[in-house]
């Protein structure tokens, strides 16, 4: 059986405790309520049951979506109890607070007691202790106590752990223990949970989560924060040099990647290609590859040349955005057709020259010379549309996250210790017996895995008896 008898003291004979409870002042009663395991179990059950609601009711959806699913009365009822964002509702946070208070109070109540028993262990095997222990063994031995004591001490140290020796009224008590730190396992776990909560609060108060779309070649330093908070301006900016995606032969996505540069005071200070599981971090702000897309309104690539064919410049025309060509006029791309009169992709361009009415023309992709027939000073040829990609970045700053990991580590370590390490203790009492003989009484206890300890206890004692009987022969009294 692996029960922890020592923690049980607070719950033994519950009816009697409750009777006594009524006689106590209110403050004591409130305290006893806050430190009770009963409360802990109730909070755990209520947390578990209410958490189910938020998995059945979709969270944080727009109201229209809920109205499609629920009748008005149901909508109003669910909304009243914040069930559309229940994990951030006042009542759920209140439950978590109560849970934290309960954990903290349990620790305040019990930890000092544990520290006391660990620092001042019961190192004397008196009669009351002996009676309370189920594992005991007695035998008689030769020799007088002061001389034999060293043998037993050495044997116990060799076979189990170095004992503490206490002498009282001619009786010698040896006390040895192992795994005493397992007594702190549960407290480490509970502290770990509280630390995780603290980390989460730190992250919520001092951090932010945001999202930004950056087109290829553009940079951004201005983020829209989520949850109604105002926007965030980073002290640096991030440039998306290029976003791309790769697919497997069957077309499923293989890789989403963005080549990012961190720009500070106009200089590139860091460059990294991020992918979905490989973010970029700079000054505590993390950028995660989260989505991508094509920018609205692709740009049309138009090459401009003179009649004799010498190139002048290349234009990137955004729909309806005028582009000025010095000494010529203003050009706008206004329309695009995938298949213009059966001749393939074409772009409609409006040309405005000073002092003349605007003229418009269609230029065909793949027919660069066609525009020559216009006999204008400049010739336009359409080289195709380029849809600009943008990368969608999740941006987060969470100064509490390492606190959360610390809590998790403590929680797990504490759990392992409290499940798998047993605090085992062995007492040996040497007391004077009849006819110059010595009476030896041994006792043992373990706070968990008792059946395994029974075997350890038996083998340790057998070895101690063997060790000490050897010395009997070597040094006959």
């Amino acid at each position: 059986m692996e029960t922890v008898s020592d923690v049980r003291t607070d719950s033994a004979s519950i009816p009697a405790v409750e009777k006594r409870e009524r006689a106590k002042p209110a403050s004591t009663r409130i305290w006893n309520f806050l430190i009770s395991v009963k409360l802990a179990i109730w909070i755990i059950i209520v947390l578990a049951v209410t958490s189910i609601l938020g998995t059945v009711i979709e969270q944080n959806q727009p109201p229209e979506k809920y109205h499609q699913v629920y009748e008005d009365w149901a909508y109003n009822l669910l909304d009243r109890f914040n069930l559309f964002d229940m994990y951030h509702s006042w009542w759920f946070l209140l439950l978590l607070c109560l849970f934290t208070i309960n954990l903290t109070c349990c620790t305040i109540d019990r930890l000092p007691r544990v520290i006391r028993t660990v620092r001042k262990p019961k190192s004397i095997l008196d009669e009351a202790t002996e009676k309370s222990l189920s594992l005991t063994e007695r035998w008689k031995s030769k020799g007088d106590i002061p001389r034999r004591m060293e043998d037993y001490k050495a044997a116990l140290a060799r076979e189990f752990a170095a004992p503490k020796v206490t002498e009282a009224d001619g009786v010698v008590h040896l006390y040895a223990e192992k795994g005493v730190y397992s007594r702190f396992g549960a407290y480490a776990t509970h502290a770990g949970i509280v630390i995780v909560f603290i980390g989460a609060i730190l992250g919520n108060v001092f951090g932010f989560k945001s999202y930004v779309n950056i087109p290829d070649g553009k940079e951004a330093s201005h983020l829209d924060a989520r949850g109604g908070k105002e926007h965030i301006d980073l002290p640096f900016s991030v440039r998306n040099n290029r976003f791309w995606l790769e697919t497997y032969p069957d077309g499923t996505p293989k890789k989403y990647a963005s080549d990012l540069s961190v720009m500070e005071n106009g200089r590139e200070v860091l460059r990294k290609t991020i992918t979905v599981n490989d973010p970029l971090a700079y000054k505590g702000v993390w950028f995660y590859q989260s989505s991508y897309g094509q920018e609205d309104g692709a740009t049309a690539q138009v090459a401009v040349s003179r009649q004799d064919g010498t190139p002048v410049r290349n234009l990137s025309l955004v729909p309806n955005e005028p582009v000025r060509i010095d000494g010529y006029g203003v050009v706008r791309g206004v329309n695009y057709e995938q298949d213009f009169q059966g001749k393939g992709p074409a772009l409609q361009v409006v040309v405005e020259k000073p002092g003349r009415p605007a003229s418009d023309l269609w230029i065909l992709q793949g027919r660069p010379d066609l525009d020559r027939v216009r006999k204008d000073s400049l010739v336009f040829s359409f080289e195709g549309l380029t849809a600009k990609m943008y990368t969608g970045l999740q941006v987060a700053k969470d100064p509490g996250v390492n606190v959360v990991w610390l809590g998790c580590l403590l929680l797990t370590a504490g759990m392992m210790v409290s499940f798998f390490v047993s605090h085992t203790r062995i007492w040996i009492r040497l007391s004077p017996g009849l006819h110059g003989k010595m009476e030896v009484t041994a006792a043992g206890s373990a706070n968990r895995n008792r059946s395994a300890f029974e075997k350890t206890f038996a083998s340790v004692l057998a070895a101690v008896r063997k060790d000490t009987s050897n010395t009997d022969k070597e040094n006959p009294a």
């Binding site: 692996e2 179990i41 998995t55």
Partner: protein, 280 residues
């Protein structure tokens, strides 16, 4: 024509079916020899399924999409059955008792049958799953699930045994079970193995989510259900350790815990929507 790994998994399914049948027959017929055969079939199933996992891993590399075979519903089911079987063999070896087989191995068998009805092809990994965290996350979770499955199987045995002991009856199959004290202890022990693994599974999942999306906890249905499972077993441990809940109540809690585990593992994917890909 299925690839070699799927054929091996199909063979594993047959072996689990054979072992389940043998264990149940041994229980009814009170034949120790049959139960011993059941054990050997389980050992064979362990070898075949381990080989199948290895072959599947190699095949994925040959397809140019090499990755650990625990990334979709089919793979997670066979991996779960694999874990349950190994955990069972460990318990049987440790307790030197074969009567558990009839209650635990059918869980592995039914899981494999369910896997059989699912798409078994090797699909490439989507970008979100391409992480080393995947290994740590999936393995810890499934060892935890397997331990909870064993605990629940033993809890059912406990309930049957305790009822018989109360009636002071001494016949039938149940009489051949280990004593209710041993069963009660095993219900607890399987949970104290499963609980740290589940905890590690939740933490590695959170660490992974934080590394991929910048949020370690987003109250996604899968996350929430894993927390619910965690809370149920936390309640079990507190009730048992500090309030002395043993026997019947502990066994029922263990079964409730496993039902919520099944909900977390399968229910969330089949019924609710969320971030976890398998089961679509």
């Amino acid at each position: 024509m299925n690839t070699l790994n799927v054929q091996l998994f199909d063979l594993t399914t047959l072996l689990f079916g054979g072992a389940s049948g043998t264990f149940i027959a041994a229980m009814y017929g009170k034949k120790e020899t049959l139960a011993r055969i059941g054990t050997w079939i389980c050992v064979a199933a362990a070898i075949v399924s381990t080989a199948a996992l290895g072959v599947r891993w190699v095949e994925s590399y040959k397809m140019g999409i090499g990755r650990i075979p625990v990334t979709n519903l089919y793979e997670s089911l066979v991996f779960f059955a694999w874990s349950v079987n190994l955990f069972y063999l460990f318990v049987e070896w440790k307790y030197k008792d074969r009567s558990f087989g009839a209650f635990v191995i059918p869980i592995a068998f039914l899981t494999m049958v369910f896997a059989f009805t699912n798409e078994s092809g090797i699909q490439p990994l989507v970008p979100a799953l391409q992480s080393y965290w995947l290994h740590a996350h999936v393995i810890t979770c499934f060892v935890g699930y397997a331990a909870f499955a064993v605990s629940a199987g033993v809890a059912v045995m406990y309930l049957l045994k305790a009822r018989q002991e109360k009636a002071k009856a001494k016949d039938g199959i149940v009489a051949r079970f280990p004593s209710s004290k041993v069963l009660d202890d095993l219900v607890y022990r399987a949970i104290i193995w499963g609980f740290p693994f589940l905890t590690a599974g939740i933490i590695t999942g959170a660490a992974w989510a934080n590394y991929a999306w910048g949020t370690y906890w987003s109250w996604d249905p899968k996350e929430t259900w894993s927390l619910i499972v965690w809370l149920v077993y936390a309640a079990f441990l507190h009730a048992r350790i500090t309030r002395g809940w043993h026997g019947r109540r502990a066994a029922i809690l263990s079964i409730v815990g496993f039902l919520s585990t099944v909900m977390c593992y399968l229910g969330v994917n089949l019924v609710l929507s969320g971030l976890h890909s398998y089961g679509g």
